[in-house]
Protein backbone atom coordinates (compact mmCIF):
# COMPACT_ATOMS: atom_id res chain seq x y z
CA UNK A 1 0.00 0.00 0.00
CA UNK A 2 2.84 2.32 0.85
CA UNK A 3 6.20 2.00 -0.79
CA UNK A 4 9.10 4.24 0.05
CA UNK A 5 12.39 3.81 -1.77
CA UNK A 6 15.63 5.61 -1.01
CA UNK A 7 13.63 8.61 0.12
CA UNK A 8 15.70 11.68 0.90
CA UNK A 9 14.44 15.07 2.00
CA UNK A 10 16.80 17.97 2.39
CA UNK A 11 15.93 21.35 3.80
CA UNK A 12 18.14 24.33 3.14
CA UNK A 13 20.86 23.13 5.50
CA UNK A 14 19.69 19.92 7.11
CA UNK A 15 19.07 16.53 5.62
CA UNK A 16 15.96 15.60 7.52
CA UNK A 17 15.42 12.21 5.88
CA UNK A 18 18.29 10.25 4.44
CA UNK A 19 17.68 7.39 2.02
CA UNK A 20 14.90 5.69 3.86
CA UNK A 21 13.20 2.65 2.35
CA UNK A 22 10.29 0.72 3.74
CA UNK A 23 6.97 -0.65 2.66
CA UNK A 24 3.65 -1.18 4.37
CA UNK A 25 1.15 -3.86 3.44
CA UNK A 26 -2.54 -3.16 3.12
CA UNK A 27 -4.41 -3.25 6.41
CA UNK A 28 -1.36 -3.00 8.62
CA UNK A 29 -0.74 -0.63 11.49
CA UNK A 30 2.79 0.64 11.48
CA UNK A 31 4.44 2.57 14.26
CA UNK A 32 6.90 5.23 13.33
CA UNK A 33 9.33 5.65 16.13
CA UNK A 34 12.22 8.01 16.65
CA UNK A 35 13.56 10.74 18.92
CA UNK A 36 12.81 14.42 18.36
CA UNK A 37 14.09 15.64 15.04
CA UNK A 38 14.45 12.13 13.64
CA UNK A 39 12.47 13.00 10.54
CA UNK A 40 9.12 11.38 11.29
CA UNK A 41 7.03 14.43 10.50
CA UNK A 42 9.08 15.13 7.41
CA UNK A 43 8.55 11.61 6.07
CA UNK A 44 4.83 11.90 6.71
CA UNK A 45 4.71 15.23 4.93
CA UNK A 46 6.31 13.66 1.89
CA UNK A 47 3.81 10.79 1.96
CA UNK A 48 0.89 13.21 2.11
CA UNK A 49 2.25 15.27 -0.81
CA UNK A 50 2.76 18.28 1.42
CA UNK A 51 6.47 18.33 0.68
CA UNK A 52 8.14 16.94 -2.42
CA UNK A 53 11.00 14.47 -1.90
CA UNK A 54 14.51 15.68 -2.72
CA UNK A 55 15.42 12.24 -4.03
CA UNK A 56 13.93 8.78 -4.10
CA UNK A 57 10.32 7.82 -4.54
CA UNK A 58 7.27 7.38 -2.39
CA UNK A 59 4.17 5.59 -3.60
CA UNK A 60 0.79 5.35 -1.94
CA UNK A 61 -1.70 2.82 -3.31
CA UNK A 62 0.44 2.57 -6.41
CA UNK A 63 0.46 6.31 -7.11
CA UNK A 64 3.63 8.35 -6.99
CA UNK A 65 3.47 11.38 -4.71
CA UNK A 66 5.17 13.55 -7.31
CA UNK A 67 3.44 12.30 -10.43
CA UNK A 68 -0.13 11.80 -9.28
CA UNK A 69 -0.51 13.79 -6.09
CA UNK A 70 -4.27 14.17 -6.47
CA UNK A 71 -4.81 10.44 -6.59
CA UNK A 72 -2.64 10.05 -3.52
CA UNK A 73 -4.41 12.84 -1.65
CA UNK A 74 -7.79 11.30 -2.39
CA UNK A 75 -6.75 8.11 -0.62
CA UNK A 76 -5.07 9.63 2.39
CA UNK A 77 -6.37 10.88 5.69
CA UNK A 78 -3.82 12.97 7.51
CA UNK A 79 -3.63 14.20 11.06
CA UNK A 80 -0.72 16.64 11.24
CA UNK A 81 1.31 17.20 14.38
CA UNK A 82 -0.96 20.06 15.41
CA UNK A 83 -4.56 19.50 14.34
CA UNK A 84 -5.39 21.83 11.42
CA UNK A 85 -8.46 23.49 12.94
CA UNK A 86 -10.09 26.83 12.20
CA UNK A 87 -10.82 28.40 15.58
CA UNK A 88 -13.83 30.36 14.36
CA UNK A 89 -15.63 27.29 13.00
CA UNK A 90 -17.98 24.98 14.86
CA UNK A 91 -17.20 21.26 15.01
CA UNK A 92 -19.85 20.10 12.56
CA UNK A 93 -19.29 23.07 10.27
CA UNK A 94 -15.61 22.19 10.16
CA UNK A 95 -16.19 18.51 9.45
CA UNK A 96 -18.60 19.51 6.68
CA UNK A 97 -15.96 21.77 5.17
CA UNK A 98 -13.27 19.10 5.27
CA UNK A 99 -15.69 16.50 3.93
CA UNK A 100 -16.45 18.69 0.94
CA UNK A 101 -12.76 19.29 0.34
CA UNK A 102 -12.27 15.55 0.24
CA UNK A 103 -15.04 15.21 -2.32
CA UNK A 104 -18.04 14.13 -0.23
CA UNK A 105 -21.46 15.69 -0.59
CA UNK A 106 -25.15 15.38 0.21
CA UNK A 107 -26.54 12.53 2.28
CA UNK A 108 -23.26 10.67 2.22
CA UNK A 109 -21.52 13.61 3.84
CA UNK A 110 -24.18 13.85 6.53
CA UNK A 111 -23.82 10.16 7.22
CA UNK A 112 -20.05 10.37 7.52
CA UNK A 113 -20.26 13.37 9.82
CA UNK A 114 -22.62 11.49 12.14
CA UNK A 115 -20.34 8.49 12.00
CA UNK A 116 -17.12 10.30 12.89
CA UNK A 117 -18.84 12.34 15.60
CA UNK A 118 -19.69 9.10 17.35
CA UNK A 119 -16.52 7.31 16.48
CA UNK A 120 -14.22 10.00 17.83
CA UNK A 121 -16.37 10.81 20.87
CA UNK A 122 -17.02 14.40 19.91
CA UNK A 123 -20.82 14.39 19.80
CA UNK A 124 -20.90 16.49 22.96
CA UNK A 125 -19.02 19.36 21.32
CA UNK A 126 -20.99 19.35 18.07
CA UNK A 127 -21.79 23.03 18.06
CA UNK A 128 -18.86 24.37 20.03
CA UNK A 129 -16.34 26.64 18.36
CA UNK A 130 -13.09 24.80 17.68
CA UNK A 131 -11.09 27.65 19.19
CA UNK A 132 -12.77 26.94 22.52
CA UNK A 133 -12.05 23.23 22.67
CA UNK A 134 -9.56 21.70 25.07
CA UNK A 135 -6.38 20.17 23.69
CA UNK A 136 -7.74 16.64 23.88
CA UNK A 137 -10.92 17.51 22.03
CA UNK A 138 -8.94 19.37 19.40
CA UNK A 139 -6.94 16.20 18.87
CA UNK A 140 -10.12 14.15 18.53
CA UNK A 141 -11.63 16.54 16.01
CA UNK A 142 -8.32 16.33 14.16
CA UNK A 143 -8.67 12.56 14.05
CA UNK A 144 -12.28 12.88 12.95
CA UNK A 145 -11.34 15.05 9.97
CA UNK A 146 -8.65 12.53 9.00
CA UNK A 147 -11.14 9.66 8.71
CA UNK A 148 -14.13 11.62 7.40
CA UNK A 149 -13.77 10.39 3.83
CA UNK A 150 -13.01 6.82 4.83
CA UNK A 151 -9.52 6.88 3.28
CA UNK A 152 -7.50 3.79 2.43
CA UNK A 153 -4.46 5.14 4.19
CA UNK A 154 -4.32 6.99 7.48
CA UNK A 155 -1.27 8.99 8.41
CA UNK A 156 -1.35 10.11 12.00
CA UNK A 157 1.36 12.29 13.47
CA UNK A 158 1.32 11.66 17.20
CA UNK A 159 -2.40 10.94 17.45
CA UNK A 160 -2.46 10.52 21.21
CA UNK A 161 -0.41 13.57 22.16
CA UNK A 162 -2.23 15.61 24.75
CA UNK A 163 -4.95 13.12 25.58
CA UNK A 164 -5.84 11.89 29.05
CA UNK A 165 -5.10 8.23 29.86
CA UNK A 166 -8.68 7.11 29.29
CA UNK A 167 -8.76 8.90 25.99
CA UNK A 168 -5.41 7.45 25.00
CA UNK A 169 -6.81 3.97 25.47
CA UNK A 170 -9.99 4.81 23.59
CA UNK A 171 -8.02 6.36 20.76
CA UNK A 172 -5.73 3.34 20.56
CA UNK A 173 -8.77 1.09 20.42
CA UNK A 174 -10.22 3.30 17.74
CA UNK A 175 -7.02 3.16 15.71
CA UNK A 176 -6.78 -0.60 16.12
CA UNK A 177 -10.38 -1.00 15.02
CA UNK A 178 -9.72 1.08 11.94
CA UNK A 179 -6.98 -1.26 10.82
CA UNK A 180 -8.02 -3.90 8.39
CA UNK A 181 -9.98 -1.55 6.17
CA UNK A 182 -7.33 1.10 6.50
CA UNK A 183 -3.59 1.04 6.32
CA UNK A 184 -2.26 3.14 9.17
CA UNK A 185 1.04 4.81 9.88
CA UNK A 186 1.30 6.55 13.20
CA UNK A 187 4.22 8.29 14.77
CA UNK A 188 4.70 8.38 18.47
CA UNK A 189 7.16 8.90 21.26
CA UNK A 190 5.36 6.55 23.58
CA UNK A 191 6.96 3.16 23.25
CA UNK A 192 4.26 1.05 24.87
CA UNK A 193 1.89 2.58 22.36
CA UNK A 194 3.75 0.89 19.55
CA UNK A 195 3.81 -2.39 21.46
CA UNK A 196 0.08 -2.17 22.10
CA UNK A 197 -1.16 -0.74 18.87
CA UNK A 198 1.15 -1.64 16.06
CA UNK A 199 2.05 -4.80 14.25
CA UNK A 200 5.07 -3.38 12.59
CA UNK A 201 7.55 -0.79 13.69
CA UNK A 202 9.85 1.50 11.78
CA UNK A 203 12.53 3.10 13.86
CA UNK A 204 14.40 6.07 12.49
CA UNK A 205 17.10 8.16 13.99
CA UNK A 206 18.68 11.31 12.61
CA UNK A 207 16.93 10.76 9.33
CA UNK A 208 18.23 7.24 8.85
CA UNK A 209 16.43 3.97 9.14
CA UNK A 210 17.51 2.20 12.34
CA UNK A 211 15.25 -0.83 12.11
CA UNK A 212 12.09 -2.05 10.51
CA UNK A 213 10.45 -5.26 11.56
CA UNK A 214 7.39 -6.67 13.19
CA UNK A 215 7.10 -5.71 16.81
CA UNK A 216 7.41 -9.33 17.88
CA UNK A 217 10.50 -10.05 15.81
CA UNK A 218 12.19 -6.94 16.95
CA UNK A 219 11.66 -7.81 20.55
CA UNK A 220 13.05 -11.26 19.94
CA UNK A 221 15.90 -10.08 17.78
CA UNK A 222 17.39 -7.74 20.29
CA UNK A 223 17.02 -10.36 22.93
CA UNK A 224 20.33 -12.13 22.51
CA UNK A 225 20.22 -12.36 26.24
CA UNK A 226 17.11 -14.00 27.49
CA UNK A 227 15.72 -13.12 30.86
CA UNK A 228 13.26 -14.90 33.07
CA UNK A 229 11.32 -13.39 35.88
CA UNK A 230 11.11 -15.65 38.87
CA UNK A 231 8.90 -15.04 41.85
CA UNK A 232 9.66 -17.04 44.90
CA UNK A 233 7.76 -17.22 48.19
CA UNK A 234 9.25 -18.61 51.35
CA UNK A 235 6.09 -19.13 53.31
CA UNK A 236 7.13 -17.85 56.71
CA UNK A 237 8.83 -14.73 55.44
CA UNK A 238 12.30 -15.65 56.56
CA UNK A 239 13.64 -15.97 53.06
CA UNK A 240 17.21 -14.77 52.62
CA UNK A 241 17.70 -12.81 49.49
CA UNK A 242 21.41 -13.57 49.15
CA UNK A 243 20.87 -17.23 49.78
CA UNK A 244 18.26 -17.48 47.06
CA UNK A 245 20.43 -15.59 44.67
CA UNK A 246 23.46 -17.78 45.15
CA UNK A 247 21.26 -20.84 44.80
CA UNK A 248 19.89 -19.61 41.49
CA UNK A 249 23.33 -18.69 40.23
CA UNK A 250 24.48 -22.25 40.65
CA UNK A 251 21.97 -23.56 38.17
CA UNK A 252 23.80 -24.46 34.96
CA UNK A 253 23.30 -21.91 32.17
CA UNK A 254 22.50 -18.95 34.38
CA UNK A 255 24.65 -15.93 33.61
CA UNK A 256 23.46 -13.47 36.16
CA UNK A 257 20.77 -13.07 38.75
CA UNK A 258 19.43 -9.64 39.59
CA UNK A 259 17.20 -9.02 42.51
CA UNK A 260 14.22 -7.04 41.25
CA UNK A 261 11.77 -6.67 44.01
CA UNK A 262 10.93 -7.92 47.44
CA UNK A 263 7.58 -7.52 49.05
CA UNK A 264 6.00 -9.28 51.96
CA UNK A 265 7.41 -12.76 51.83
CA UNK A 266 7.91 -12.82 48.08
CA UNK A 267 11.11 -12.18 46.19
CA UNK A 268 11.36 -11.42 42.53
CA UNK A 269 14.51 -12.08 40.55
CA UNK A 270 15.50 -11.56 37.00
CA UNK A 271 17.53 -14.49 35.78
CA UNK A 272 19.59 -13.72 32.71
CA UNK A 273 20.88 -16.50 30.49
CA UNK A 274 22.33 -16.95 27.09
CA UNK A 275 19.65 -17.78 24.61
CA UNK A 276 18.68 -21.45 24.71
CA UNK A 277 21.17 -22.30 27.44
CA UNK A 278 18.86 -22.69 30.35
CA UNK A 279 16.38 -25.43 30.96
CA UNK A 280 13.48 -23.91 32.84
CA UNK A 281 12.78 -27.24 34.48
CA UNK A 282 16.20 -27.11 36.15
CA UNK A 283 15.35 -23.78 37.59
CA UNK A 284 11.97 -24.89 38.90
CA UNK A 285 13.44 -28.03 40.45
CA UNK A 286 16.19 -26.06 42.13
CA UNK A 287 13.70 -23.71 43.73
CA UNK A 288 11.35 -26.39 44.88
CA UNK A 289 14.25 -28.60 45.99
CA UNK A 290 15.39 -25.85 48.33
CA UNK A 291 11.99 -25.85 49.96
CA UNK A 292 10.67 -22.61 48.53
CA UNK A 293 7.47 -21.99 46.61
CA UNK A 294 7.75 -21.07 42.96
CA UNK A 295 4.98 -18.51 42.44
CA UNK A 296 5.76 -17.43 38.97
CA UNK A 297 8.20 -18.10 36.18
CA UNK A 298 7.91 -16.21 32.93
CA UNK A 299 9.98 -14.79 30.12
CA UNK A 300 10.63 -11.10 30.49
CA UNK A 301 10.45 -9.51 27.07
CA UNK A 302 12.68 -6.60 26.56
CA UNK A 303 10.68 -3.43 26.35
CA UNK A 304 10.80 -1.41 23.18
CA UNK A 305 12.40 1.27 25.19
CA UNK A 306 15.45 -0.88 25.68
CA UNK A 307 15.40 -1.92 22.05
CA UNK A 308 15.14 1.67 21.10
CA UNK A 309 18.07 2.68 23.22
CA UNK A 310 20.13 -0.11 21.80
CA UNK A 311 19.34 0.74 18.20
CA UNK A 312 19.70 4.45 18.47
CA UNK A 313 23.00 4.28 20.26
CA UNK A 314 22.00 4.86 23.84
CA UNK A 315 20.66 8.31 23.35
CA UNK A 316 17.96 9.52 25.60
CA UNK A 317 14.72 8.18 24.28
CA UNK A 318 12.43 10.86 22.96
CA UNK A 319 9.90 10.60 25.71
CA UNK A 320 9.96 14.18 26.79
CA UNK A 321 8.20 15.85 23.93
CA UNK A 322 8.90 19.43 23.17
CA UNK A 323 5.81 21.57 22.66
CA UNK A 324 4.23 21.35 19.22
CA UNK A 325 7.00 22.19 16.86
CA UNK A 326 6.72 25.06 14.49
CA UNK A 327 4.68 24.65 11.37
CA UNK A 328 6.49 25.51 8.26
CA UNK A 329 5.09 25.54 4.82
Amino acid sequence: MIEVKQLTKRYARTTAVDQISFSVEKGQIVGFLGPNGAGKTTTMRVLTCFLPPSAGTAKVAGFDVLEQPREVKRRIGYLPESPPLYPEMGTVEYLRFVGKLKGLSGAELDKRIDYVLGRCFISDVKTKLLGKLSKGYRQRVGLAQAIIHNPDVLILDEPTAGLDPKQINETRDLIRSLAGDHTIILSTHILPEVEQTCEQVIIINKGRLAATDSVRNLQARTRGVESLLVEIAGGDGSLEQDLVRSTLEQIPGVAQVVSKDAKDSRLIFEVQTQKGQLNRGDLARAVVGAGWDLNELRAASMSLEEIFLELTGNETPAEVKEPASEITA
Binding site: R70, P80, S82, E88, I327
Partner: protein, 255 residues
Protein backbone atom coordinates in the same frame (compact mmCIF):
# COMPACT_ATOMS: atom_id res chain seq x y z
CA UNK B 1 -15.60 24.67 -9.53
CA UNK B 2 -17.28 23.09 -6.52
CA UNK B 3 -14.04 23.30 -4.59
CA UNK B 4 -13.69 26.99 -5.36
CA UNK B 5 -17.14 27.58 -3.92
CA UNK B 6 -16.36 25.47 -0.83
CA UNK B 7 -13.24 27.51 -0.11
CA UNK B 8 -14.99 30.79 -0.88
CA UNK B 9 -17.85 29.96 1.50
CA UNK B 10 -15.41 29.11 4.24
CA UNK B 11 -13.51 32.38 3.78
CA UNK B 12 -16.70 34.43 3.81
CA UNK B 13 -17.75 32.57 6.95
CA UNK B 14 -14.46 33.56 8.56
CA UNK B 15 -14.82 37.20 7.55
CA UNK B 16 -18.33 37.43 8.91
CA UNK B 17 -17.79 35.22 11.96
CA UNK B 18 -15.06 37.52 13.21
CA UNK B 19 -15.32 41.28 13.64
CA UNK B 20 -13.19 41.90 10.51
CA UNK B 21 -16.06 42.25 8.06
CA UNK B 22 -18.20 44.42 10.33
CA UNK B 23 -15.28 46.60 11.29
CA UNK B 24 -14.37 47.20 7.65
CA UNK B 25 -17.98 47.85 6.69
CA UNK B 26 -18.44 50.34 9.50
CA UNK B 27 -15.20 52.14 8.84
CA UNK B 28 -15.80 52.29 5.13
CA UNK B 29 -19.38 53.43 5.65
CA UNK B 30 -18.37 56.22 8.03
CA UNK B 31 -15.48 57.45 5.89
CA UNK B 32 -17.44 57.39 2.67
CA UNK B 33 -20.54 58.83 4.33
CA UNK B 34 -18.44 61.79 5.41
CA UNK B 35 -17.18 62.37 1.87
CA UNK B 36 -20.66 61.97 0.48
CA UNK B 37 -22.53 64.39 2.71
CA UNK B 38 -19.70 66.86 2.42
CA UNK B 39 -19.94 66.81 -1.35
CA UNK B 40 -23.71 66.99 -1.23
CA UNK B 41 -23.67 69.93 1.18
CA UNK B 42 -21.26 71.77 -1.07
CA UNK B 43 -23.39 71.03 -4.11
CA UNK B 44 -26.60 72.24 -2.48
CA UNK B 45 -24.90 75.40 -1.23
CA UNK B 46 -23.53 76.20 -4.63
CA UNK B 47 -26.94 75.70 -6.18
CA UNK B 48 -28.56 78.10 -3.76
CA UNK B 49 -25.89 80.73 -4.29
CA UNK B 50 -26.33 80.58 -8.03
CA UNK B 51 -30.06 80.90 -7.67
CA UNK B 52 -29.64 84.00 -5.53
CA UNK B 53 -27.37 85.56 -8.14
CA UNK B 54 -29.93 84.69 -10.74
CA UNK B 55 -27.49 82.63 -12.75
CA UNK B 56 -28.58 79.44 -14.36
CA UNK B 57 -25.94 76.87 -14.91
CA UNK B 58 -26.84 73.31 -15.70
CA UNK B 59 -26.48 71.38 -12.48
CA UNK B 60 -25.41 67.88 -13.17
CA UNK B 61 -25.46 65.28 -10.41
CA UNK B 62 -23.38 62.85 -12.40
CA UNK B 63 -20.63 65.29 -13.24
CA UNK B 64 -20.50 67.24 -10.03
CA UNK B 65 -21.18 64.69 -7.33
CA UNK B 66 -21.02 61.14 -8.51
CA UNK B 67 -17.84 61.29 -10.53
CA UNK B 68 -15.57 62.96 -7.98
CA UNK B 69 -17.01 60.78 -5.24
CA UNK B 70 -16.32 57.62 -7.17
CA UNK B 71 -12.71 58.67 -7.61
CA UNK B 72 -12.61 59.09 -3.86
CA UNK B 73 -13.99 55.58 -3.41
CA UNK B 74 -11.26 54.18 -5.60
CA UNK B 75 -8.64 55.80 -3.36
CA UNK B 76 -10.33 54.92 -0.07
CA UNK B 77 -10.50 51.37 -1.37
CA UNK B 78 -6.70 51.26 -1.47
CA UNK B 79 -6.60 51.56 2.29
CA UNK B 80 -9.04 48.73 2.87
CA UNK B 81 -7.61 46.18 0.46
CA UNK B 82 -4.68 45.16 2.73
CA UNK B 83 -7.01 44.57 5.62
CA UNK B 84 -9.07 42.22 3.50
CA UNK B 85 -6.24 40.16 2.03
CA UNK B 86 -3.58 40.06 4.73
CA UNK B 87 -4.94 37.02 6.52
CA UNK B 88 -5.85 34.93 3.48
CA UNK B 89 -2.74 32.74 3.40
CA UNK B 90 -0.61 34.13 6.21
CA UNK B 91 -3.11 32.91 8.78
CA UNK B 92 -3.33 29.42 7.28
CA UNK B 93 0.44 29.17 7.32
CA UNK B 94 0.71 30.36 10.88
CA UNK B 95 -1.93 28.03 12.27
CA UNK B 96 -0.91 25.03 10.17
CA UNK B 97 -4.27 24.67 8.46
CA UNK B 98 -2.41 25.10 5.17
CA UNK B 99 -1.41 21.48 5.73
CA UNK B 100 -5.06 20.49 5.48
CA UNK B 101 -5.61 22.44 2.27
CA UNK B 102 -2.39 21.26 0.68
CA UNK B 103 -3.05 17.59 1.42
CA UNK B 104 -6.66 17.62 0.24
CA UNK B 105 -7.50 16.65 -3.33
CA UNK B 106 -7.99 20.24 -4.49
CA UNK B 107 -5.84 22.22 -6.88
CA UNK B 108 -3.82 25.16 -5.65
CA UNK B 109 -5.57 27.38 -8.13
CA UNK B 110 -8.95 26.38 -6.72
CA UNK B 111 -7.83 27.42 -3.27
CA UNK B 112 -6.49 30.71 -4.60
CA UNK B 113 -9.58 31.51 -6.64
CA UNK B 114 -11.87 30.64 -3.74
CA UNK B 115 -10.01 32.98 -1.43
CA UNK B 116 -9.79 35.72 -4.01
CA UNK B 117 -13.52 35.53 -4.77
CA UNK B 118 -14.32 35.76 -1.07
CA UNK B 119 -12.14 38.85 -0.79
CA UNK B 120 -13.81 40.32 -3.85
CA UNK B 121 -17.26 39.66 -2.41
CA UNK B 122 -16.35 41.40 0.82
CA UNK B 123 -14.97 44.30 -1.20
CA UNK B 124 -18.21 44.39 -3.19
CA UNK B 125 -20.11 44.59 0.11
CA UNK B 126 -18.08 47.69 0.97
CA UNK B 127 -18.98 49.16 -2.42
CA UNK B 128 -22.61 48.34 -1.79
CA UNK B 129 -22.43 50.69 1.19
CA UNK B 130 -21.47 53.52 -1.10
CA UNK B 131 -24.25 52.56 -3.49
CA UNK B 132 -26.76 53.05 -0.66
CA UNK B 133 -25.67 56.67 -0.37
CA UNK B 134 -26.07 57.20 -4.09
CA UNK B 135 -29.56 55.80 -3.71
CA UNK B 136 -30.49 59.07 -2.04
CA UNK B 137 -29.59 60.93 -5.20
CA UNK B 138 -32.05 58.82 -7.11
CA UNK B 139 -34.74 59.72 -4.60
CA UNK B 140 -34.28 63.45 -5.04
CA UNK B 141 -32.76 63.87 -8.47
CA UNK B 142 -32.46 62.15 -11.77
CA UNK B 143 -28.87 61.09 -12.23
CA UNK B 144 -28.03 58.82 -15.12
CA UNK B 145 -27.58 55.29 -13.79
CA UNK B 146 -25.56 53.90 -16.68
CA UNK B 147 -22.29 55.74 -16.04
CA UNK B 148 -22.73 54.84 -12.39
CA UNK B 149 -22.94 51.15 -13.24
CA UNK B 150 -19.85 51.42 -15.43
CA UNK B 151 -17.99 53.16 -12.65
CA UNK B 152 -18.86 50.36 -10.23
CA UNK B 153 -17.59 47.83 -12.72
CA UNK B 154 -14.35 49.82 -12.79
CA UNK B 155 -14.16 49.84 -9.00
CA UNK B 156 -14.66 46.09 -8.91
CA UNK B 157 -11.96 45.52 -11.50
CA UNK B 158 -9.51 47.79 -9.73
CA UNK B 159 -10.34 46.09 -6.44
CA UNK B 160 -9.94 42.69 -8.06
CA UNK B 161 -6.46 43.58 -9.23
CA UNK B 162 -5.29 44.94 -5.90
CA UNK B 163 -6.86 42.01 -4.06
CA UNK B 164 -4.96 39.62 -6.32
CA UNK B 165 -1.73 41.41 -5.44
CA UNK B 166 -2.64 41.31 -1.76
CA UNK B 167 -3.39 37.59 -2.00
CA UNK B 168 0.01 37.03 -3.54
CA UNK B 169 1.78 38.97 -0.79
CA UNK B 170 -0.12 36.98 1.82
CA UNK B 171 1.44 33.76 0.54
CA UNK B 172 4.93 35.12 1.21
CA UNK B 173 4.78 35.27 4.98
CA UNK B 174 3.06 33.71 7.93
CA UNK B 175 2.78 37.06 9.64
CA UNK B 176 -0.46 38.91 8.89
CA UNK B 177 0.91 42.27 9.92
CA UNK B 178 3.82 41.98 7.51
CA UNK B 179 1.49 40.88 4.72
CA UNK B 180 -0.85 43.79 5.45
CA UNK B 181 1.89 46.39 5.64
CA UNK B 182 3.58 45.21 2.44
CA UNK B 183 0.27 45.17 0.58
CA UNK B 184 -0.48 48.66 1.85
CA UNK B 185 2.89 49.87 0.59
CA UNK B 186 2.32 48.36 -2.83
CA UNK B 187 -1.19 49.81 -3.06
CA UNK B 188 0.03 53.29 -2.20
CA UNK B 189 2.88 52.98 -4.66
CA UNK B 190 0.55 51.90 -7.45
CA UNK B 191 -1.54 54.96 -6.68
CA UNK B 192 1.18 57.62 -6.60
CA UNK B 193 3.09 56.30 -9.61
CA UNK B 194 0.75 58.37 -11.69
CA UNK B 195 2.17 61.58 -10.20
CA UNK B 196 5.42 61.34 -12.18
CA UNK B 197 3.49 62.09 -15.34
CA UNK B 198 2.75 65.53 -13.84
CA UNK B 199 6.29 66.79 -14.38
CA UNK B 200 7.98 64.28 -16.63
CA UNK B 201 7.01 63.09 -20.05
CA UNK B 202 9.88 60.75 -20.85
CA UNK B 203 9.12 57.18 -21.80
CA UNK B 204 9.89 55.77 -18.35
CA UNK B 205 7.47 58.17 -16.78
CA UNK B 206 4.79 57.08 -19.20
CA UNK B 207 5.41 53.47 -18.31
CA UNK B 208 5.23 54.22 -14.60
CA UNK B 209 2.06 56.19 -15.06
CA UNK B 210 0.64 53.33 -17.08
CA UNK B 211 1.27 50.99 -14.16
CA UNK B 212 -0.61 53.27 -11.83
CA UNK B 213 -3.81 51.44 -11.06
CA UNK B 214 -5.81 54.60 -10.47
CA UNK B 215 -5.30 56.18 -13.90
CA UNK B 216 -7.09 53.31 -15.55
CA UNK B 217 -10.12 54.03 -13.45
CA UNK B 218 -10.64 57.49 -14.99
CA UNK B 219 -12.40 56.22 -18.08
CA UNK B 220 -14.73 54.07 -15.99
CA UNK B 221 -15.49 57.05 -13.75
CA UNK B 222 -16.56 58.94 -16.85
CA UNK B 223 -18.91 56.12 -17.68
CA UNK B 224 -16.88 54.82 -20.57
CA UNK B 225 -15.65 51.26 -20.89
CA UNK B 226 -12.30 51.69 -22.56
CA UNK B 227 -11.01 48.35 -23.78
CA UNK B 228 -7.41 49.40 -23.03
CA UNK B 229 -8.22 49.90 -19.38
CA UNK B 230 -10.39 46.83 -19.24
CA UNK B 231 -7.51 44.79 -20.59
CA UNK B 232 -5.12 46.38 -18.11
CA UNK B 233 -7.23 45.28 -15.17
CA UNK B 234 -7.99 41.82 -16.49
CA UNK B 235 -4.35 41.12 -17.32
CA UNK B 236 -3.36 42.46 -13.93
CA UNK B 237 -5.80 40.15 -12.16
CA UNK B 238 -4.63 37.19 -14.19
CA UNK B 239 -0.96 37.93 -13.50
CA UNK B 240 -1.62 38.49 -9.81
CA UNK B 241 -3.38 35.15 -9.43
CA UNK B 242 -0.77 33.46 -11.57
CA UNK B 243 2.16 34.54 -9.41
CA UNK B 244 0.13 33.55 -6.37
CA UNK B 245 -0.11 30.05 -7.80
CA UNK B 246 3.63 30.01 -8.55
CA UNK B 247 4.35 31.22 -5.05
CA UNK B 248 2.21 28.51 -3.49
CA UNK B 249 3.99 25.91 -5.53
CA UNK B 250 7.43 27.19 -4.63
CA UNK B 251 6.52 27.21 -0.95
CA UNK B 252 6.72 23.46 -1.06
CA UNK B 253 10.01 23.36 -2.82
CA UNK B 254 11.62 25.99 -0.69
CA UNK B 255 10.56 24.94 2.78
Amino acid sequence: MRNIWTICRKELGTYFASPIAYLLLTMFGVVFGFFFWNALGYFVNMGMEMQMRGETMPMNLNEQIIRPLLSNVSVIGLFFIPMITMRLFAEEKRSGTIELLATSPVRDIEVILGKWFAALILYACLLLFTALNFGFLFLYGKPDWKPLAVAYLGLLLQGGLLLAIGTFISTLTKNQIIAGAATFGVCILLWVLEWVSGYESAAWATVLAYLSVITHFDSFARGVIDSKDLIFYLTGIFLGLFITARSMESLRWRS
